[in-house]
Symmetry: C2
Subunit: 373 residues, 2 copies
């Protein structure tokens, strides 16, 4: 293996694949980046047990290939070596077994690499017809759902986002069983077979970080136990979570007695302040009360103090309410809606209530109240 | 106690005094900010066992006082409450014992304060004639010395910077016994009594963070066991470290056999890269070799690899050398010198060598080599 590559191009690529690398893995090869030089160009792969990222730098002025070959190079070292090179180009050469020499004008690094045969086989083959999105469209799905997935491994399925496709309708659902986010997207083309998969939240978040151009195309290839995303010359292969995702379709009530429209920034700030004294508590509970056109958010933290915040409410059905909930969940939901005005629809103080963007019916947020009254 | 204060003015002040507050202190009163309202204005104090910061907001359009009084308010809450207020003005009132009410237009916070009698007495009285600096001048002293102090409490004196004044000459010395930084400053006025004190590094770093205007005056009042700095309306009172600071005057050799002048950025980058493979090791050792006009920085990390960096040297006495040292210390010293060209003066591979700014003889850095050859 011997090649010369433009520093900036290589740095972008290794930063992308290193997103998949955990320095904590006990498998030495997985702490490294797999370099594979073919006559077409340089393939780079980073991997963990959940997802893998593979990217490609084609042979060009930026990449001169003298000899093909492959090796695994420790991610933490190679990222810093490339980042801290002042030269425009860097030369790589395997000199002896798995010893790699990295040369720029005033610098020579000899690094012990790892046998590429020790690197796990990852299948990046793309088969069948993909589902296509723009990067921006998919990023919105990720931002509006992943925050609501569970952080606990008690119910592994809830750590992922459920993607369900029927015909042209994609429904993405995330829940940690205390709150739920549901996003609906109309696909450009009808999908023949219906799809019902759960993608790990972490894979989705890392995928979204690869996006640079809003309008660039993202292709999604669904297989039995994995999904592969293709964005430009980069592929992300994620395992799917096994099991049947709970049916959440009946959780969201269709009718509500009480409907309130509020200014999003105003109620967000009020919630933020009302939860100040308890924000370091696990149960960061605030109480919402509506009386006519006046809204109150209060919190009581024994021995510390009490906060009361006022805000104005457009009380659609002229109904009053008292309800308590986790301030963090409420603020997460408001952020995800990304709307100037928010509609809060409630039946009573114990049933799940929903939060919507007045001008966007593709996204709905549901929160389970906490009984305090 | 009852007053109205402009949010921005109060926020700046409580952020300043909260620099002295540790949330880890077991003394509840020290987790708080002492608010003292007199007919002149509002005094705010934050404190830990090493240093205290007191600042003053005078009665003005920004501060309307209705009733004097004092209370201690939990720092972590009051900072966030003030920061997150959207209003221009905030009202404070003690309503009952040590319950404080904080009111802005849509928000009412009731917070349990602490009896101000539980707050330690701190003497901020200024007596005698101060030593004066500009903020910029003092900040340079801090930046060029504190990094070289010891982090270990084994020899507490070395965790501070030694300030020694004789006549018009101030000499500031910091060392962790492996490297040393010495800064000399010519004072504007002669100081009558000679001064030899050790100021905790942490106090100096926090003091420098208070500075806003480069040209504003900083006054330093030295007492038997403490020092008080006055910057604008803010005072910082720091205890002094007890004991006799080691005499370091003979550590810095006066004559050198080998003198090299190098481009600072070039040798800094070379050291940074040469230490890449060992940067997470305690002994981050690099080897410097000069042969004629060529310089080499190398490092060997068993089982990981080897790096060699080249750079050019103006070899004043045409003498060669091989010497090994801690890369971190060398880079810290180069940064502190803040010079385009750096002069490295060495006698042999086991004696301390020094690093200087070619154009600034007020600052000298000394490093003890490590024996590896």
């Amino acid at each position: 293996m011997r090649f010369q590559v433009k520093k900036d191009v290589l740095l972008d690529s290794i930063l992308n694949v290193s997103r998949a690398i955990s320095t904590k893995t006990p498998i030495p090869a997985l702490q490294g980046i797999l370099f594979e030089v073919t006559n077409d160009g340089l393939y780079l792969t980073g991997s963990n047990t959940e997802y893998s990222i593979k990217t490609f730098i084609p042979k060009s002025e930026d990449l001169q290939i003298e000899k093909t070959g492959s090796i695994v190079i420790q991610s933490r070292y190679i990222v810093e070596i490339v980042r801290k090179t002042n030269d425009e180009f860097i030369n790589f050469e395997i000199v002896d077994g798995f010893l790699i020499k990295i040369i720029s004008s005033n610098s020579e690094v000899n690094l012990n690499g790892i046998n590429p045969k020790e690197y796990q086989k990852i299948d990046f083959d793309l088969k069948g017809k993909p589902i296509t999105f723009t990067a921006k469209e998919f990023k919105t799905i990720v931002e509006q759902t992943t925050f609501a997935t569970s952080l606990s491994e008690n119910r592994p399925l809830l750590t992922g986002v459920n993607f369900r496709i029927n015909g042209k309708l994609l429904e993405c659902t995330a829940t940690d069983s205390y709150r739920l986010s549901r996003k609906r997207v109309k696909l450009e083309e009808t999908i023949d077979k219906s799809i019902n998969i759960v993608i790990p939240s972490k894979s989705l978040n890392e995928l979204a970080k690869l996006f640079i151009e809003d309008e660039e195309k993202l292709e999604m290839y669904v297989f039995g136990t994995k999904v592969i995303f293709k964005y430009g010359t980069t592929l992300l292969n994620s395992r799917l979570l096994e099991g049947t995702y709970p049916d959440t379709s009946k959780l969201i009530p269709e009718k509500f007695e009480k409907v309130y429209v509020v200014n999003t920034q105003e109620i967000f700030d009020a919630t933020d302040r009302a939860s100040l004294l308890s924000s370091d508590h696990v149960n960061n509970i605030v109480n919402l009360e509506v009386k006519g056109s006046k809204g109150y958010l209060t919190s009581n933290t024994p021995e510390v103090g009490r906060i009361e915040e006022k805000f104005s409410v457009d009380n659609k059905n002229n109904e009053n309410i008292k309800v308590s909930f986790n301030a963090r969940y409420f603020m997460d939901a408001l952020k995800a809606l990304n709307s100037l005005e928010t509609e809060i629809s409630i039946n009573d103080e114990v049933s799940p209530f929903i939060i919507r963007n007045v001008h966007d019916d593709t996204i709905v947020q549901l929160i389970l109240p906490v009984r305090t009254y």
